[in-house]
């Protein structure tokens, strides 16, 4: 497992790619600083909706994770190097799990640090809120990673489908159709944040912490199982 994990880290942690993701991840920090300096200071609700919900959980996290996680298997399929791994006498989960963990290892520090700094600046060092935001974004990264790792294996058009998912599903439909939110990773990541610090983030309009955690487990576990199944059944290029 260690070999697959280290191999994937080397494949995903390209210097240019990480630099660009880092620039994207800095945006919420900069915007938060600007909001604080503004004479018309934003409310917690405004801040949550624009910076945390729309920008961090709805755009930066999924985009960064898409670029990284979809490549975990996507690059191997495109380069036809996947057979190097599948022709090994190891169970398929020992290929899938390290790929997933490597994607999280590369993506989550960017998002988590962005979330941590954003929260720390916005809430003036208030640790419960900071931890709630950081942990919920990290869990969001894990959920997105499980989805996009699977997508990278099943489709050569993973990036296009992923972008459509981010822009249309997470960005558009969840804003207008309330039922769709129950199937939204972004919504549940935000719900986790509310559940972890209900004092700062009231929970009336969100599902409970238990429900959001359960959703995260189902999404991560479900897509990992789907990925393992696909790897067993597919014709390896």
């Amino acid at each position: 497992m260690g070999s697959v994990y280290l191999l994937t880290l080397r494949q995903l942690a390209g210097r240019w790619r990480l630099s660009i993701m880092a620039v994207l991840a800095l945006m919420p920090v900069v915007i938060t600083m600007m909001m604080l300096r503004s004479d018309n200071a934003a409310s917690v609700v405004d801040f949550e909706q624009t910076v945390l919900g729309a920008m961090l959980a709805g755009a930066i996290a999924p985009l960064a994770v898409l670029a990284i996680a979809a490549a975990a298997f996507g690059n191997e399929v495109e380069d036809r190097t996947l057979a190097n791994l599948t022709l090994s006498p190891i169970p398929r989960w020992k290929i899938v799990l390290p790929k997933f963990l490597a994607a999280i290892t590369v993506a989550s520090p960017l998002v988590a640090v962005s979330a941590l700094l954003t929260a720390h600046i916005a809430f003036l060092g208030e640790w419960p809120a900071t931890i709630a935001i950081t942990v919920s974004m990290a869990v969001g990264v894990a959920m997105y990673a499980s989805l996009f790792v699977w997508l990278g294996l099943v489709s050569a058009q993973a990036i296009g489908i992923g972008l459509l998912y981010i822009v249309l599903w997470e960005g558009f439909f969840t804003g207008y159709v309330s039922g769709v939110r129950l199937l939204s990773i972004r919504y549940h990541a935000i719900a986790l944040m509310h559940g972890l610090d209900p004092r700062r983030f009231p929970t009336e309009q969100h599902v409970s912490l238990a429900a959001a955690s359960g959703f995260a487990v189902v999404v991560i576990g479900g897509f990992l199982l789907l990925t393992m199944r696909k790897l067993r059944k597919m014709d390896v290029p």
């Binding site: 058009q157 990036i159 296009g160 981010i166 822009v167």
Partner: protein, 272 residues
């Protein structure tokens, strides 16, 4: 080369899966136009023309603002197919050993993708125009009053297509992996909006207006506003909308010509 570019962009000559994304995008764009036409038709029918006019329903001008992000995602996803694969598979030399230069190669790729993007921009507007005409109490009267909308939406659509095409291909020219080009471009579009909006409102004044001009999603929409002579919903709140028409159009020009020049410069010296 031009035909080959069209085929690549639309997934023609390959399996069904290659066609899914480009045609899905075109379908989504067309459906938006269709929905707008249906809404306009329904409102005209049930509340009458007078009240419908007062309601200020979405029009050709607003369509471009609404569809702009989908157009950019389309360009970001499909555009890199034309360049990244050739870089990755190292087949550019196969073109260059023929009587083709690097300039020919990139010009053909740009022209073919521009054709696809322009068609994607125009088709929904045509559907909307036909829908609005048909739903008017007297279609011929509508056509007589609104025939100028046709060259307007054709011009605005072309502006959007040229801008998106050039930026998408320029980004793709820097990498052999389509994925990275696509995500970078979409990230740039998605993030530039809140960033510039926040900074512009913070700073205000003329500086704020110019900062607002760096909202990459809005650049072709400002051209759309100038062509239609009205500010769309998307750009209404943008300080840049207050700048002179010549400045906004010139800005679009700069953001299309300069990237096109860089793109050409990257390819023109290629030799086999």
């Amino acid at each position: 080369m031009f035909k080959n570019g069209l085929r690549i962009a639309l997934g023609l000559g390959r399996g069904g899966k290659a066609k899914v994304l480009p045609f899905a995008f075109i379908t989504v764009l067309a459906v938006i136009g269709l929905i707008m036409a249906l809404i306009a038709g329904a409102v005209n029918r049930y509340v009458g023309e007078v009240i419908a006019d007062q309601l200020n329903l979405p029009s050709h001008s607003d369509y471009n603002g609404i569809a702009s992000i989908i157009m950019f995602v389309f360009a970001a996803v499909v555009g890199p197919e034309l360049l990244c694969r050739d870089r990755r598979d190292r087949v550019i030399n196969l073109y260059l050993v023929r009587p083709l230069t690097g300039s020919d190669y990139i010009a053909c790729r740009w022209a073919s993708f521009l054709t696809v993007m322009t068609a994607a921009a125009w088709l929904p507007q045509l559907i909307l125009f036909i829908g609005l005409s048909m739903s008017a109490p007297v279609p011929a009267e509508y056509l007589k009053l609104h025939w100028l909308d046709v060259p307007r939406f054709l011009g605005a659509g072309f502006a959007m297509a040229a801008y998106a095409t050039t930026l998408a291909l320029l980004t793709a020219s820097f990498t052999s992996r389509r994925a990275y080009a696509s995500v970078f471009l979409v990230g740039l579009f998605l993030i530039s909006t809140p960033f510039t909006v926040g900074l512009a409102s913070q700073i205000g004044g003329a500086a704020g207006q110019w900062i607002s001009m760096f909202n990459l999603t809005n650049i072709p929409v400002h051209v759309n506003d100038v062509i239609f002579g009205e500010v769309s919903e998307i750009t209404k709140a943008a300080p840049a909308a207050e700048l002179a028409a010549s400045v906004r159009v010139g800005w679009w020009f700069a953001w299309t010509i300069i990237p096109a020049t860089i793109l050409w410069a990257r390819y023109r010296r290629l030799t086999p």
